[in-house]
Symmetry: D2
Subunit: 357 residues, 4 copies
């Protein structure tokens, strides 16, 4: 082994790029992980990086990305800069042979995202998207419940993510908040189930020049429907997702720490549609189950801590992360289609226009 490269079991040298809103969380979690050794915090405004590190840190602050990328002790780079800069920064890092973690969304466009994925795959480097919510205990459990069949087949998913949020300068509320819901949807769906079309409606009533309230409707290849409401203008904060399955229905209320998940054995049973003719279908018996609800015990654990461990696993094993670049790309495909729908008065836009390209 070349002495300039650290041994496999040594902590992975990492640099964080971007000391704004999200960077400090990455700094804190890389520092807390024994898998990583944080080497740099890089920001165009070096004083901002210094403030984030505080007056007691041995980590170096810099505004010189080239120096960071030239540092052999750095094997991995975590990027928390505005989406519009992801292509440039991540490409530079990949070309310098670094594994890359990117804050959501992966890139500012589907085409940019494709470029990054191709670059990483060509070089055999891990490209991971920080879809943080996927690593919460709640979403990990939902994924298990849906993929194991415990909930039955997905019938509908309804997600509301609203509060009084910052009106972003460059992106609308859909690009700001919906990546959370779309990445979660991508993460929990069983193999073979996927969105095929999207329609979006929105409103910019405060004259911000971009939608501050938006509704996305996704049609899945199974006939199921997923609906997402994102809103920057709501004085009340709601983060609730209802997942209706053919066996059980799950409600995830992320603002209720004592009962984040509720699994209802209540619902509507109908005779199988296949067994019935059209006439019969109108008269079929519908029966209602009034069953118990179970709120499973979840271990509280910071999602970023689990995400950072998954990043280490991906780097060390050479296998894709659970939320790899391709997952990030699937999210952007839907966002771009939704933007087109929004511009076209809510027209249902087929996702194959993107994913087949």
């Amino acid at each position: 082994m070349n002495s300039s490269h650290p041994a496999v079991d040594d902590p992975i040298g990492v640099a964080v790029v971007g000391a704004g809103y999200w960077g400090p969380n990455l700094v804190r979690n890389f520092q807390a992980s024994t898998e990583f050794r944080l080497r740099w915090l890089c920001d165009l405004d070096v004083s901002r990086a210094e403030r984030v590190l505080g007056g007691y840190s041995t980590v170096r602050a810099t505004d010189d990305l080239a120096a960071v990328l030239a540092d052999d002790s750095v094997r991995a780079v975590a990027i928390a800069t505005p989406a519009g800069t992801h292509l440039e920064v991540a490409t530079a890092a990949l070309r310098a042979g670094k594994h890359v973690l990117v804050e959501k969304p992966l890139a500012a466009s589907f085409a940019q995202g494709q470029t990054l994925v191709a670059e990483a795959e060509r070089r055999g480097l891990s490209l991971m998207c920080d879809h943080t919510y996927c690593y919460t205990p709640a979403v990990l459990r939902i994924r298990d419940l849906l993929r194991s069949g415990d909930l039955g087949e997905l019938q509908y998913l309804d997600s509301v993510r609203i509060n009084l949020g910052l009106v972003q300068r460059d992106i609308d509320v859909m690009w700001d908040l919906a990546p959370h819901d779309l990445s979660i949807l991508d993460f929990i769906l069983p193999a073979g189930v996927a969105p095929v079309a999207v329609a979006a409606h929105g409103a910019d009533r405060i004259g911000a020049g971009r939608a501050c309230v938006a509704y996305l409707t996704l049609h899945l290849n199974t006939g199921a429907i997923a609906h997402i409401h994102v809103n920057w203008l709501s004085p009340v904060k709601i983060r609730t997702t209802i997942i209706g399955g053919s066996k059980r229905t799950l409600v995830w209320d992320d603002l209720n720490p004592g009962q984040r998940l509720s699994i209802f054995d209540r619902g509507v049973d109908v005779a199988s549609a296949e067994e019935l003719g059209d006439e019969q279908r109108r008269d079929m018996l519908v029966s209602y189950r009034s069953g118990d609800m179970v709120a499973p015990a979840l271990t509280e654990r910071e999602a970023l801590r689990t995400m950072v461990e998954e990043y280490a696993r991906s780097i060390r094993s050479g296998t894709p992360a659970l939320t790899d670049g391709r997952a990030g790309l699937r999210v952007i495909a839907i966002l771009e289609a939704a933007s087109r729908s929004l511009a076209d008065g809510g027209r249902l836009v087929n996702l194959t226009e993107w994913t087949d390209a």
Copy 2:
């Protein structure tokens, strides 16, 4: 005055037609009102009518609608039969010279509704639609707040009305539940503000032959947006409406008796869009108000009681009820447009296709 007609100040003789789900509520409220004298409860199944009246009542049960309509002591008829029968029953009542109250929706189609409105207007009779929610203390207050300008201009309205509901035999969830939200919207909007287009998405995952989950998006002539989520399959019951105004935002949680209305003086302020160029608009200052919330005291009062009083007022004064036939017609116009949108993959359907007709 002809002795066979009651004096103006006497109680108004009334008959209820339909002893199913809603009829008993009308029976109870007409009995409790000094404005009315309940004469008949009529149902095709007379034993059902008898059961509703119970073993201690002096009100007559019958299955003979013709006899009811021939009774001169009956001046008003309240119809709580399935929507598909409204045209026939209400037309018969109007032709017999009776004032008519109809359970929502007014009729099974826009054309049928038009027929009823025309018949009532030709005869100078009161045709009222029982849009019950409009008469709750909460909605009456919301109407005042919006029409007085206290909330500012409407920016968005978001309504969620979901629970484990009965899958209806003849109508989908949109025709079952959305009339509540659409009639409320119609009721509270200031003069000159109205929906102009609607798009709808839905899913029938349980093979019921009609949508059990539906989303309606309405675009208003002011640029505002209204969105309605109705769902028969949700194990949790939610009835929450958020009304975002340019000055304040109101949240109506109908399941929280201690705090049904919350009025937030929190929000986003922006420089007027008219004063700014496109360049400036991107950079404009957005400021956040973090103000108090006020939950106004509301007097608890059964909505049907107020509705029944409004019906008496309309009959006695010869003026249209607050929720008259035309209001019922506007609701059906949107429902029909939404049904067409649902069939067309969520296409935005212009409401003038109906209202201009």
Copy 3:
């Protein structure tokens, strides 16, 4: 069988005495039951009785209790008059050979209650106390869970029953509201478990001449504790009871219709105290269970309907009702002891001073 007495299977003729706050609920439920035939509604103010019956009823209103008690078609009397009159009215009814149902509390004092119980037992008549809450689906389920051992041994019970309530003219908040909690406690406790002492604190800060806020602490013969907070001055309404058992803990939130009962498999496990010496006890291992929560499905059913059926069962079978006069007496014993404690600065008052008498 004497022809003047109805056959066993005929509806039981019943009269309601008292047309104030609670009487109308009894009227409605007796009318709805096929087990009973309501004959009279009696009130000193006959016009009040007439208003309660309304303009469409065949039930007779009267202010003549003697006439009611002389009516052979009346086998049972339900009393909903002020507590101070229970002794007189119920004694008259029992002496007339009628079964008697009494609104809580059974009587205005322990001594009065004893007189009633003795009178009923001497005559072999059913004396039932309308402890309505005991007949809610929630409390019936709690009783099953506690008596079956599913919750383990009771460790503590904490009940909060507060809202902005009517300041009563003759009784304090303890006598007004705590009978609910005390009757529930009496109802759910397994055989052999009972309160042995009570302490009470209260405050009359509005100068009403009686406590408007009160706290009762009951010590049980098992070492368990029960605590009751009743309050007429709270602008928020809370009706929550926590029942801590050695195996599971149950939370009953009566204001949450979608999740009235929550059963937690979370708690603290300790090594059995018997196996350990004093030294060890200080160091014993305490382990925490972080288990699931189950909210059992409950059928919604009006408690008074079940209570009325239990009354019929008691009358027809000649066996005591679940909440018979003795249960009512046990509740009064605690109320009297609590009143003495309140007057004595919260002194712990032994219940045997009453129950042994």
Copy 4:
């Protein structure tokens, strides 16, 4: 000025003693404050201190308290060790001329607390008690509302602080949790209003050797009542305080970030008791106000940050902190009286037994 002493405007050198549960929070907040310069983290287990500081810190870890106290650059010491050690550690620090901040409770007994207060006053050093909750935006606002008269005179205070908590080895639930409520009560009461007696009940049903559930009732010199429920065994977490005033009632729900404070203009009005004779008092008119509720906007700010600033202010100004040693002493006086009451079956214990001593 001696060069070995820092200038007044320089950051205050501080050392944290104790790296257990609370110490890390103090470390984080001293590091974030420009008023302080954190010099040491001291713990008997130096590896624990090192783990708290992490692998990137320039702060020194040590197990040598004497060395810390001998360091002239250290002007202040913050103690987060078990209560039983407070006397020894704080005395040593005071004798070394350091200002002292102590985690609640101030000491393990009233006598020990008196010793500390006397020592600090003799030396002119700041002795502050870290009553963290007093520095939350919510409690600071409550203090203003109560002391300004906006709520009127205090009638009752009811506090519930329950959840599944760690069963402590050396103290019962009362000494563990009630210091929060007692320090808040001490902090918000207007001048001249104070508790005069306390009664306590508790239960140790899990055989832990100390109470795991406890109820404290405090009688105030104004006739008002304060009640505190603390509980380690509740699977649900509740932190709600109701403060009933003669003008308004305030509800503080610390677990509801969007609406922590609710101020109700609802209540009961009575004619002044002074104007009425005893006879009249029974018949006086009680009127109910059904007014609005206001939830004031609160700025979110970490309480410890404000506490640390108050500590700096106290040190620099030479004036007592808002929660100084005497405040800590008043809290212990109540805890000791409550412990005696608990041992005496809930006997009402006069607080002058302590405070007069």
